[in-house]
Every structure is written in C-alpha cells, then in structure tokens.
C-alpha cells in the first residue's frame, strides 16, 4: 500500500469525462501509480480522466442514492463531496447486500515510518463508516514486507512501524469484534491459507504483466516483482480461514486511494482464473500537501502536512505559514476579485474534514466573493483540525499494547452471515 503522494484534491465536477481522450493532452498527462502521483496542476490530478484511463466507473448521484437506500444512512461526506469518486462493481456488492449475502472490507497501509499524517486517515475514516453502516467484517493489511523491500529499512524497523501505525488506525474507532489487522511479516508465518493464495496468484501472473502494470525492470529485486501477489491475496476470503473457514466466495470490497488500483486491476484479472470472485473497489482522490496539490507530501518534511502527533500550536502555525493560499496579494484585491477555492489548500482540507455542508458552501461563496479573507479561512480550518487531532490523540492514548495484540491476533470475527 502506498503512503506519500504528490497530492491531488477532490475532483472538479466541471470537467466532463472523456473530452479529448488520454492521447489529446499526453504532454500534460498526470502520472499515477502506487509509488508516484504527479500532476502539474495546482487543482490536482484530473480524476475524470483517470477514470477513463483506469477503466473504472464514476461514483454518481444514482449510486450514492442507492448506498443511502441500502444502508438507511446519510452518505458520508467523502461520498457527498466526491472524495471517494470512482468504483468497480459497487452495484454488485449492493446487490449481494440487499440479498443478505455476505461481503467483507479490505484496506491497508504501507508502514514506511512511525509518523502518520491526516491524509493517511482518509481511507480509514471512510472504511470505519462502511463497517458501521454495513455491519461487516474488515481486514487491514500492514505491508511491512513491502516497505522492507522498497525502503532502506530493516525487517524489525518495518515491523515496528506496522505496529505503531496500527495504533493510529485502531484510534479511528474500528470495532474490535469485527476487525483483523495484520502485519504481512507476521501473518504469512501464521496462516498456510494466506501463503497458498499468494502462490496461486503468483502462478497466474507473469513478469511481463507486472512489468506492464507496475513498471518493474530487470534490475528490480525478485521481492518487488512478486510482491503484488501479497497485496492481492487478502482480496480472497479463504486467505482468512479463521474468519471465513474454507469459503472462497465471500465478496470483498476494497476502499483505497486510486493509486492502489493497479494492484487490484491485476487481482481482478487473476480472480476468475483461480476460481475466486473479483474484489469490488471504492477509490478516493489524493490528499493534498500543505504547499499545494502539485507538490509532494513527505514524512521527512514536517511542514508538508498535519501530522497526527502535532500540537494545537503546531497545527495553527503550519496552516498559517504553509497552507497554499488561493487568495489575492493584497486585502484590497482580495475584496475586489475574491479568492480561488480550486487551488486553496485550506479550503481543500475543509472539504475533507468539515462535516457541515451548508457551512462549507457558505465558506466557498464568501471566499470566492472576497467577503472572507485568507486569514479567516485558515482560522476555520485550524478550528476544525485542532479538535480532530486532539481527539485522535486522546483515543490513541487509550490503545494499549493488549488492544493492539487482540486486533492483530488471527481469530474469529463476529458477523451476521448465514
């Protein structure tokens, strides 16, 4: 699973999909794979074009309404605002759900450092919501083996980061009775069912295929080359015999950032050839760096994002000093011409974290008209982020080693399937 992005922002609904096609603007094409997300636009990646290029489907109003009808819950703000904007086979998951057939959630994280930032929480916040409204089991893969293979880390470091990151994930509020978090380095050595699926996938994917999908070269280590099978395996329910027994047909739904889609395109290609159902997907946009949607967030640059360990004061300083502004050069100009929400990082962050739709719309209007100044906009964001981070830190403090151990122990999960 990836971790740091050259950041994007929620999709701009103004740009219709398919205008011109991918070839038309080759020179300015965004680049998205699990290790690199690149765009030259301050508005971020063009997500409508990405949908066309990846061959996924847009999460449209109709699908959001269907989710609302099926769950009886108001759609999460990430759905309402197009932050989860693309999917594969979500209608199939809903068909199954409406027919009382089981499904499970699978998401993950590549633990490349102890430090997680607010952007890393996006898939987990949404996954927790999905777990709550659908009442389904969830598996969370910590790809410490991947981080060991890709980064200059020891096995123990990568594994240590997996455990530390698990605490932040647990602090998102997952149901301990319905959630299994696993480190690959641990779980591979605890579950013959998991390794069997890894080998099955590895038999059905050639080097040519991973070369095409992931851009591997002959100089890459054989660990990288075979790793995609390890990220694919949790998509199949018999990788978790302690949860699903020998059932091979429990439908899997994967919420993740869209840069992870190449892994699951490969998985979906393999699935029917090894007799398993294809996993369904829900894709999110990228979380922008403080410095702007076209710059790179980095765990080694503490000013590129808001970290989950930041104090209230640090949050205030970072937003005020570093959040890229869509405002004008002078107050006079700003009052006259207004600010640009499309490139303003503080506004983008509010779309992720401010729950109140009406208030968000009011801010958008006021900032665009010039009625609201940049300092005022930033103050709104600081007032959303400070309690959010403080509450996260309070919840994380309550995550004891025993709780981590229980989440990370292969065990039965409680769920309602027949």
């Amino acid at each position: 699973m990836g971790e740091d992005y050259k950041a994007g922002c929620p999709p701009n609904n103004a740009a219709p999909a398919g205008d011109g096609g991918p070839e038309a603007t080759e020179a300015e094409e965004d680049f998205v794979d699990p290790w690199t997300v690149q765009t030259s636009s301050a508005k971020g990646v063009d997500y409508d074009k990405l949908i066309v290029r990846f061959g996924s489907s847009k999460i449209d109003k109709e699908l959001i309404n269907r989710i609302e009808r099926a769950t009886g819950q108001r759609p999460h703000r990430f759905l309402r605002r197009g932050i989860f904007f693309s999917h594969r086979d979500m209608n199939q998951v809903l068909d199954a759900y409406e027919n009382k057939k089981p499904f499970y959630l699978y998401t993950g994280r590549g633990p490349s450092s102890e430090a997680m930032h607010v952007g890393h929480l996006i898939p987990f916040i949404f996954t927790k919501w999905l777990q709550d409204v659908f009442n389904v089991p969830l598996v969370i893969q910590m790809t410490d083996d991947e981080k060991y293979l890709w980064k200059d880390l020891t096995l123990d470091q990568a594994h240590g980061y997996a455990v530390e990151n698990a605490k932040d994930i647990i602090a998102c509020g997952f149901d301990i009775n319905k959630t299994f978090i696993f480190s690959d380095l641990d779980y591979m050595g605890m579950s013959p069912g998991f390794y069997r699926n890894v080998v099955k996938i590895q038999k059905h994917v050639t080097f040519n295929q991973v070369k095409g999908i992931f851009g591997f070269t002959d100089s890459d280590c054989i660990g990288k080359i075979s790793f995609p099978a390890i990220q694919a395996a949790p998509s199949f329910s018999n990788s978790f015999p302690q949860i699903f027994g020998d059932k091979t047909d429990v439908q899997c739904l994967i919420p993740c950032a869209i840069d992870q889609d190449p892994y699951f395109r490969m998985t979906r290609d393999v699935a029917p050839r090894i007799g398993y159902p294809k996993p369904a997907l829900l894709h999110s946009t990228f979380f922008p760096a403080l410095q702007g949607a076209q710059t790179k967030m980095s765990a080694s640059d503490p000013n590129s994002s808001i970290f989950l360990t930041d104090t209230a004061k640090q949050i205030k300083t970072k937003v005020n000093k570093h959040a890229f502004s869509g405002g004008r050069d002078t107050i006079e100009e700003h009052r006259q011409f207004g600010g640009n929400c499309d490139v303003d990082v503080s506004f983008m962050y509010l779309t992720f974290f401010l729950e109140d739709d009406d208030k968000l719309e009011q801010i958008r209007k006021d900032y665009t008209s010039g009625a609201m100044l940049t300092g005022e906009l930033k103050k709104e964001l600081v007032e959303v982020l400070q309690p959010l981070i403080a509450e996260h830190q309070a919840r994380r403090k309550e995550v004891t080693e025993e709780i981590v151990k229980e989440f990370m122990t292969p065990r039965k999960l409680s769920y309602d399937f027949q």
Copy 2:
C-alpha cells in the same frame, strides 16, 4: 529441488580436469540446470568439466581421508566411488566440526509425483550416513510450492505428493529426534522466521540475476521468478527458530545432486550481504536411466528406472529387458573382446548400490575381459536391487501417519551443540 534427470553416471577419473577448457568443445557441451540435464555421451555428463564450469572443488582423496579422520568412520561408498564428487567449503565444515562448533544438514526434494525411483534415494542415503557419522540435525525441504508453480498440479496434489514422498524419505532411516521434514506450503504459514529470511533474500536478488542463473524469461510467472529465495532460505539457521533459536550463524551443509547447485551459488552470493554464513555443499552425480546415461528418466515411463514400488519380478524384468548393455552383439564376440563398463547401466547401478568394493572390482574386470556375460552381470544387479527395494518397502510400511506427522511438526531437535 529437481526430480527427473537426463541421467549421468559416476565421473570417469581417466579424464583430467581442465583439458581444453569449456570453450574447446562448445558444440558437445553438457547442459545442466535444475530442470534439464543433457549430455550426448553414453558415459554421461563430464563431471570434471562441470566442476570447472560451476567453480566448485573436486572431492579428492585428501578430503575423503580428512572426513574419515574426523568421523572415525569408513567413507561411504558414494565418496569412495566419486558419486559425491564435488563440494564447496567442506573443509570449513570439518574445521568447525573439529573445533566442536555446530553445523546442520539441509537437503530436499521436489515432490512432482507419488512415484519415487531408486535414483531419488541417492541424496537421502548419503544424508542419512552424514547424519549418523557427524551426529547433527537435519532439515528436509519438500518444495511442493515449486512443483505447483512448475507443473500442471493443484496445491492439494503437490502437497499430497510431499507427504507421500516424505514416507519414502523417512524409510531411509533418519533419526526422528534429529530430523525435521517440511512442506513449503505448510511451513511458510507456520514460521515467521522462515518468511523473514525469504523476504531478506528476495530483497537482495534481482530479476537480472535469476535470469542469468536460471534462464527465466519475461513470460515466466512471478512465482517461479521469486521461488529461488524459498529454496535458499533453509540454508540459514534462523529459518528454524524452533531448532536453533535466533542463532544466525550455525553452518549449513547441503548434500544434493549437482543440478541444484545454481540455487546455492545464488544463496552463497547473497549470504554475506545479509549477514549470514555461506552454506557448504556436497554434490552428487546423476543417476542414469535404465536405457542409458544419455536418456531421460521419467516418472511417466515406468521402464526408465526401478521404482520404489516395484516387485521383485518387475525389477528382474526391467533390468533384463531395459538396462542398456555395454556387452557385445554375440557371446563369441563378448568372450573375445569383453564388455564396456563405462556405458553399461547395470554396472553403473552396481557402483551405486553394491557395497563390496572387491566384488565390484572383480565384476568390472570380469565383464571387461569377457569372462562375465551380460546376463550374469544383470543377475548380480537384480540380486542387489531386489532385497534393497524389498527392505525399503518393509520399512516404508512401518511409517505410520503419526510418524510422518511427528517428522513434519516444527519442534526442538536433540543435538549436542553448546
């Protein structure tokens, strides 16, 4: 681990090493890798040239004498007759042994079918002898994952063959208190220590390297490409924490047929880069097919070898009908000119299985002079093979499911190291 060879025979000591070098006879060069052994000579592979090509060392009289001094035991006939003919770092193992430092044995088998033939026993007969004379622990890898990846088998078939083959291996007489037999498909999911070493090795070997060593191509599946790390991992003692705890420095000695050497050249290349000692090796020649050293033994052709399930009558018929003869066309010619032991498969088999050196030499002389006829030579072989196979079958019958289970359970082994 490989299984069926285009067979060779014990090295002919008459051919001095290095005459002409590998380039001189490019057109007639033998081909040896873990999947293919090819020679156009009825005498089999030119092992002296193979030593030069692989860069290993010849097991000479001096080394055999040293093994005899160290163990206080008469060298096994496979050493006396050059059947184990090549090594890497065996002197280092003896240094350690003489200084009371521990080492362990590692060998294995690729379980591609239920049927094993006498040739498959060669490494195990020799490994049992090594275990007895050095009194050391032994791990035996059943590469059922490899066979799944390479052959048209299901996971359950490959795993089933691993268990069936383990019975024949156990019937060789290994000490249950000093021997751990494992199926990769089982053990990978039972031991985080094993997977950690696999990933470590996979990080330090590139596709370019396995392409060079094993001839993999872009069309090969990623399972094959990463498999060499799985055969390499048991060379490192911390792959078996239940036996060696967290010790990473217990020296490993691998007896195997020389076609497996590419795996361990790779392993020895990686070892110092991940902080582990290089495994030492003892290489055997190939066991010839009944039809001659330049033909292929095959589990699907029951007449190409003597199987461990053959009856006394089948053995007699096979040897008489199919064993390639170095005799002359007529009795008169044979009496006058004598037979050729260098290409006679019955004689080759006797070098593997007849314990009595004097008797073997007498047979060689008599057959070469023409005093012994082909029928008589074959009778000698039948009389050696029939009790050998019958005794094996009797011992195998005593191998209960419980005994197999105990051999295949990760556990402490008893050994004398400090």
